[in-house]
């Protein structure tokens, strides 16, 4: 009897395993002959360029000090490091031999031309919803780039994830195929924005929490996530921004990296904005319309609430002249009086009416980094500052990682939280700082 049960179990395992392997098997697609750049319609290439900018493809597919898309950027995941691949049309080390069908399969199903499963650090769980026409445009754009010969290191993942079939198992659990269908009851602009944000934009990849296997939690979409040691703030009703996002403020932020009710872009989002600057303006507006709708605040209310938030934050501004060196714990003889540190290190720029020719910081009370439940983003900004991309103009905040000791940074962050947000104190600022110093990114 026991033997019979064992045989049945074994048979099920073999059948299921065989079925999985058959399902996971993908043929190699034929190599595409070389085509001249002139074979592609310039209008299609331009459309592809805009979609690639919305997708921020270059963030991961860019090697340091090498042309766009040659790959090599290390994407650090909780499971190991994966390097952005070379997606230039080089025939040996890039995707020069890929046909449009192979490119679509990679974007829709996460399978490369040779039939290997790709790891979901490549967000095909979003790209799967993109239309064939749009993917063909991105394909045309990539195929008309300069081919760059550049070998990218193999992923460094722990067993069993280093077996590519693990990616197939992941897809079985979490990948939902099919073209993205927006809510048809919404405006055409909203629908366009939803499509772009959910597919190419893959906004929720950083702005949603992930489960133990690294998949976005569907029921907590836009509830806030983590990317490269930074918090991707919630964009739904849990948004920490005191001013609710409006279509206008979201557009300012996404397109220009600044809005008067939210402040300057920082962290990994800076690169996203650098790319969105190059995208089709109407498409960025559409995305802003969609993103602003996620908090569930009706548009007229959001605008009024945002104005109120600006007023509230302004009333908490650091007054000039005269320094407030009271109101915080600690003692200035140990250098741990957050207010005294703020007065000497921060208030020159972050004061009421502060005007800088280059960058005018908004009231700190408007910052999601100050208002969020997690101190990480504020700590990251204090440590590293804010700097424009090399050779670009933009806001500058100096880095304070060498100026202040860790206990001083904690005292300062706790003071800023208490003085400017009016929210409950952070209890774990020291732990969060330690984690950032250790380079722990999740």
């Amino acid at each position: 009897m026991l033997r019979r049960i064992l045989i049945v179990v074994l048979a099920i395992v073999v059948l299921a395993g065989g079925g999985f392997l058959a399902w996971a098997w993908h043929d190699e697609l034929p190599a595409e002959p070389r085509r001249d750049a002139s074979a592609y319609d310039p209008a299609v290439v331009a459309k592809g360029a805009s979609l690639a900018a919305i997708g921020s493809c270059a963030v991961c597919h860019l090697a340091k000090n090498s042309p766009s898309f040659a790959g090599g950027y290390p994407v650090e995941t909780p499971f190991g490091v994966i390097y952005g691949s070379n997606i230039t049309p080089d025939r040996d080390t890039g995707i020069g031999t890929w046909s449009p069908a192979a490119f679509r399969r990679a974007m829709h199903d996460g399978v490369d031309r040779e039939g290997h499963h790709l790891y979901p650090a490549f967000p095909y769980d979003h790209f799967t919803g993109a239309t064939d026409t749009d993917l063909d445009a991105v394909y045309a754009y990539l195929m008309t780039r300069e081919p760059v010969r550049h070998d990218v290191p193999a992923p460094q993942l722990t067993f069993p994830l280093n077996i590519r079939l693990a990616a197939a198992a992941w897809k079985l659990l979490f990948l939902r195929h099919g073209e993205f269908v927006p809510d048809k009851s919404q405006s055409p602009e909203w629908q366009r924005g939803a499509y772009l944000a959910e597919t190419f934009g893959h906004c929720s990849a950083c702005h949603s929490p992930r489960n133990a296997l690294g998949a976005e939690k569907r029921d907590e979409k836009y509830a806030g996530g983590i990317a490269e040691g930074w918090i991707g703030p919630a964009l739904n009703a849990a948004s920490p921004a005191p001013a609710p996002w409006t279509a206008e403020s979201a557009f300012n932020y996404l397109r220009r990296g600044f809005d008067r009710a939210h402040g300057h872009v920082a962290g990994p989002m800076q690169e996203v904005v650098e790319h969105l600057r190059q995208a089709n303006e109407g498409d960025v507006r559409a995305m802003a319309t969609y993103i602003a709708s996620l908090n569930g605040v009706a548009a007229p209310d959001a605008a009024a609430k945002a104005e109120q938030a600006v007023k509230n934050a302004t009333s908490r501004q650091w007054p000039i002249p005269g320094r407030e060196t009271t109101g915080s714990g600690g003692s200035s003889t140990t250098g741990l009086d957050g207010a005294a540190i703020f007065a000497g290190a921060c208030a020159t720029c972050h004061h009421d009416g502060g005007r800088l020719p280059i960058s005018r910081p908004v009231a700190l009370g408007l910052s999601s980094a100050v208002n969020g439940a997690d101190p990480r983003n504020l700590l990251q900004i204090v440590l590293g500052g804010i700097h424009p991309a090399p050779n670009e103009r933009g806001a500058i905040m100096p880095a304070f990682s060498g100026t202040l000791t860790d206990p001083q940074i904690v005292a300062l962050a706790d003071y800023v939280r208490e003085h400017f947000s009016g929210k409950p104190k952070w209890n774990d600022t020291g732990t969060a700082l330690e984690a950032i110093r250790r380079g722990k990114n999740s």
Partner: protein, 165 residues
Amino acid sequence: MTIVLTINSERHQIDADPSTPLLYVLRDNLKLNAAKFGCGLGQCGACTVLVDREPVFSCLTPISVLDGRRVRTLEGLGIADKPSPLQAAFIKEQAAQCGYCIPGMIMRAQALLEKNASPTQAEIRDHMQTNLCRCGTQMRILRAIDRAAKDMKTADAGTTTGAAR
């Protein structure tokens, strides 16, 4: 209130508000005039000095945070008769025009060379990005740092008057 500062290995008792920027104390109280006031906002780097091993903008460094830490200024590197290797390289490359940014440039570069004896051109540029020169001697400054790195290979890290005790 009184705060004790250690600057170029000398201890100083300073009577000032704890939020006073280090730059003001250096220039007004101690007459160490190498570090300059440029923008006062941490955007130009003319006030750069070293705290422990890190380059900092002294205009945005309140003295309250310096208890038990070691401040080094250009005056601690060398003197006219006996310049440090980095200062000597700046002289050899004639890297100063008006000279206002130079003490900050040298202190920031000093921090780099103490950590990385053979920086690449890209590393030097990356490291020096926060310091501005408005005369246009950037190329000479970069050359001077590169030259100092090479000169220092045959000497020590280039600290003279008690800077690295």
